[in-house]
């Protein structure tokens, strides 16, 4: 009978579990108490009663609301953001949002809308963002224009729209973003652009529309923030059509999945007749690139030639003397000198990331770039046995240098002496060879950020970080220390100005009590993913008000004497440690329960010992230690027996004494 009963119990339990799962009321996730809720993919056909009236942000996407009307959201009068993506909405009836005065964003992406009533968007006093992406419309006249006076962005991508002309009464004075991605717009007429003339600083996205013609004069004296014509087959159509326009940023890149025409010098002539600050030509083929190709780029400030199949740039390019930013990412340069940097004397930023070939830095290839402030050479297979004095010659104003994800670099003393103004240096995942006791970063008195994560450093070199007088942020993640131990004398002693220190995943077993002395300004220490025990916390005893991450270590018992050290910190993360929940850790426990607000990651801060409590959250455990009733009983019995024995013994002794008389 017993197995039957347990079977029944199990079945009842399981069915009960099902009930909870199918009951949708409790299933929305609360992201912010009483304000932000996510109810995605719940098959809901109405707003659940569980949602409070105070809800401000509601993600209700992928549910089932064929019709929405004034009763649908009536209760939620504080809504600011409402996402109704793919809710199979067909009808948007009159006054749907009439009580949502504060609503500023409505997302209706992917709904097969049949009709939006004239007053369906009435109510909100300041509706700013409207997403009508892929709702199957072919005309902008579908959108009710009442109450769009405050509209800042309109997203109508992936529809069947053929013209960007806005209806006559469409308010445009506050419009900043018009997104027409992936529609069927092939021609831009003068009347189309005239319908937008009240808008200022407008950005229009026409990517994926393949513009075949622009009426001459359509853009005459028009001013735009951004224009995106991505994937256009013939870019010369665009250049000709934009005559006399002023555009801050023009995006003309192509894509891998779209056919296009190679760019020759003639096609770029139109650029002479317009004012553009920044241009993107990613993935195009230039045939052939010559010194005159860019002759109309004279007023350009930023040029992006990402993945344009370049192996070199010609040596005497005319017209790029005022260029400030150049992006040459994902090209095929063999040597850095092949970019012929002398063409761009005003350059302040240069990006040559993800070069497909092994990039040889050569000697002084960038020496003409006296104003260069930012240089990104990451992911470019760079290898150098003696870096970087000759390679970075004359870059006296460089502030940010990224050499991360490269092949091994050998660094000597004062390796960056040509770039004394560096503020940020990123060498993550680049294997660094530094001989002991050399100091490669000497003479970088302004350096504030240094990323040396996964550099396979020789951390026994105590002079490694010498000379970094203003270093605030140091990342040493993934480097090993001798015997897994940071000893009393170590490389951190020369960087007393540190504020943020990351020593995660360094395979550390212990930290000497004195190891971090001298780091008085620190307020963030990440020691996660090591094998540290509770005793290592001693090393932080002189620090106050820090963020301390000790997640995923080997901490089981936290000794009584380190509790004051923990008490003086702001935030502590002890998650993923094999914490002991027995009476041997009682002092920590008592302190922990009083200081719950200090802790981060409480959901993952669980017991490992005793086995009975394995996986239970520490904050849910109530530990009662001291002498138990059973122990008291045993003690009393023991004492009683002892007294009986004593009396018996004295009795015997007395009897023997009197027997002798």
């Amino acid at each position: 009978m017993a197995p039957t009963i347990s079977c029944m119990l199990l079945a009842v339990l399981i069915s009960a579990g099902c009930k909870v799962i199918t009951s949708s009321d409790q299933m929305c996730t609360e992201k912010e108490v009483n304000k932000t809720y996510n109810c995605e993919y719940l098959g809901l056909s109405k707003v659940p009663d569980f949602l409070p009236n105070t809800t401000e942000v509601l993600d209700f996407s992928f549910n089932f609301l064929p019709t929405i009307q004034n009763t649908t959201f009536r209760r939620l009068i504080n809504l600011i953001f409402l996402d109704l993506t793919r809710c199979q909405i067909n009808w948007l009836h009159e006054d749907t949002f009439q009580s949502q005065y504060q609503l500023s964003t409505i997302v209706l992406t992917g709904n097969p809308l049949i009709f939006m009533a004239e007053t369906s968007l009435n109510g909100p006093t300041s509706l700013k963002h409207l997403f009508l992406t892929q709702i199957g419309i072919s005309s902008l006249k579908f959108i009710p224009v009442h109450n769009l006076e405050n509209l800042q962005s309109l997203y109508v991508g992936s529809n069947h729209i053929t013209s960007i002309e806005l209806p006559e009464n469409f308010p445009t004075q506050n419009l900043k973003v018009l997104d027409f991605q992936n529609n069927a717009i092939h021609y831009l007429m003068k009347k189309d652009l005239d319908s937008l003339k009240q808008a200022t600083n407008l950005s229009i996205n026409l990517s994926g529309n393949d513009i075949k013609g622009i009426e001459p004069g359509a853009f005459h004296s028009k001013i735009f923030q951004k224009l995106n014509f991505g994937g256009t087959f013939d870019v010369s159509v665009i250049f000709q059509g934009l005559q006399n326009a002023t555009i801050q940023s023009l995006w003309l890149g192509r894509f891998e999945d779209m056919e296009d025409k190679d760019i020759d010098s003639g096609m770029l002539q139109g650029l002479c007749e317009m004012t553009v600050e920044s241009i993107n030509l990613q993935k195009h083929y230039f045939s052939p690139i010559s010194s005159t190709t860019f002759q109309c780029f004279t007023r350009l400030q930023e040029l992006d030639l990402t993945a344009t199949h370049l192996e070199e740039l010609p040596s005497s390019i005319k017209g790029m003397s005022s260029l400030k930013k150049l992006v040459l990412t994902a090209n095929h340069f063999g040597q850095l000198c092949q970019i012929n940097a002398a063409n761009f004397p005003s350059l302040t930023s240069l990006y040559i990331k993800s070069n497909t070939k092994k990039l040889d830095l050569g000697v002084a290839c960038l020496e003409s770039l006296e104003n260069l402030q930012t240089l990104d050479l990451s992911h470019s297979n760079i290898e150098a046995s003696d870096c970087c004095t000759l390679q970075l010659k004359n870059l006296h104003h460089l502030q940010s240098l990224n050499l991360s994800y490269n092949e091994p670099l050998g660094l000597q003393n004062q390796a960056f002496q040509e770039t004394p103004q560096l503020v940020l240096l990123d060498l993550a995942f680049t294997n660094l060879h530094v001989n002991v006791p050399q100091s490669p970063f000497q003479n970088l008195p302004l350096l504030q950020f240094l990323n040396l994560s996964h550099c396979l450093l020789d951390t026994s070199n105590q002079r490694l970080l010498a000379g970094l007088l203003d270093l605030r942020h140091l990342n040493l993640q993934g480097n090993r220390f001798q015997d897994g131990r940071i000893s009393k004398t170590n490389l951190l002693q020369t960087v007393g100005s540190l504020e943020i220190l990351i020593l995660a995943s360094c395979d550390l077993l212990s930290i000497d009590q004195q190891a971090l002395h001298g780091l008085e300004k620190i307020h963030y220490v990440d020691l996660s993913h090591n094998r540290l025990t509770g005793n290592s916390i001693d090393a932080l005893s002189h620090l106050k008000n820090i963020y301390l991450n000790l997640a995923d270590n080997n901490i089981d018992i936290i000794p009584f004497h380190v509790l004051p050290t923990l008490s003086q910190q702001t935030t502590i993360n002890l998650s993923h440690n094999p914490l002991d929940c027995t009476c041997s850790n009682i002092h920590f426990f008592m302190w922990f329960l009083e200081n719950l607000q200090k802790f981060e990651g409480l959901e993952e801060t669980v017991c490992t010992n005793p086995p009975l409590l394995r996986g239970v959250k520490l904050s849910d455990v109530k530990l009662v230690c001291g002498i138990t009733a059973a122990a008291i009983f045993v003690l009393i019995v023991f004492l009683f027996l002892l007294i009986v024995l004593l009396i018996f013994f004295i009795k015997c002794l007395l009897r023997r004494k009197y027997q002798n008389i």
Partner: protein, 158 residues
């Protein structure tokens, strides 16, 4: 009584287990000694996928067709591929499909809720598939590490 209870238990277990329902296994291609089967491992949706012209000697720059509903914005999109044979890992790689500074494909920048349909090349190198059975785990995710698509594929080469 006993029988009724065990039936009830079996039903409860089945019903409970059913909440993590599996999507059907589809054929992406079956031709020239090569068979590619796949199953969606995204609990929220199935996905449609086919490869044009598969054969043991895989051509470079294959054309594929892929259809699904986007669960997330894909301004940033990454592909992780893990190849296993007989339970041991052979190859793992991660490939950026869309990045904000380099949108490689025309679909980059599409939004949550849009129907995604791609027909076109995938820029793969050509190679000969050695005989055997392989498991391939493909995962597409965005910049916030949220799953966009997930597929467990089996490649049988005979």
């Amino acid at each position: 009584m006993e029988g009724l209870l065990s039936t009830l238990l079996a039903w409860a277990l089945l019903y409970f287990g059913g909440s993590g329902q599996a999507w059907p296994t589809h054929t992406a291609c079956r031709e020239g000694g090569l068979e590619v089967l796949y199953q969606s491992c995204d609990p929220f949706q199935d996905l449609g996928f086919s490869i044009e012209q598969c054969s043991r000697t895989l051509k470079s720059n294959l054309n594929i067709r892929l259809g699904l509903i986007l669960r997330e914005d894909i301004k940033e999109l990454f592909l992780d591929v893990a190849l296993l044979t007989k339970g041991s890992s052979v190859l793992n790689f991660s490939y950026p499909v869309c990045e904000s500074d380099q949108p490689k494909f025309s679909f980059c920048g599409r939004r949550k809720g849009e129907q995604f349909y791609y027909v076109g090349p995938v820029n793969n190198p050509g190679f000969e598939v050695p005989k055997g059975e392989y498991q391939v785990l493909l995962e597409l995710y965005n910049g916030k590490k949220s799953t966009v698509a997930c597929a467990n594929a089996t490649v049988i080469c005979s």
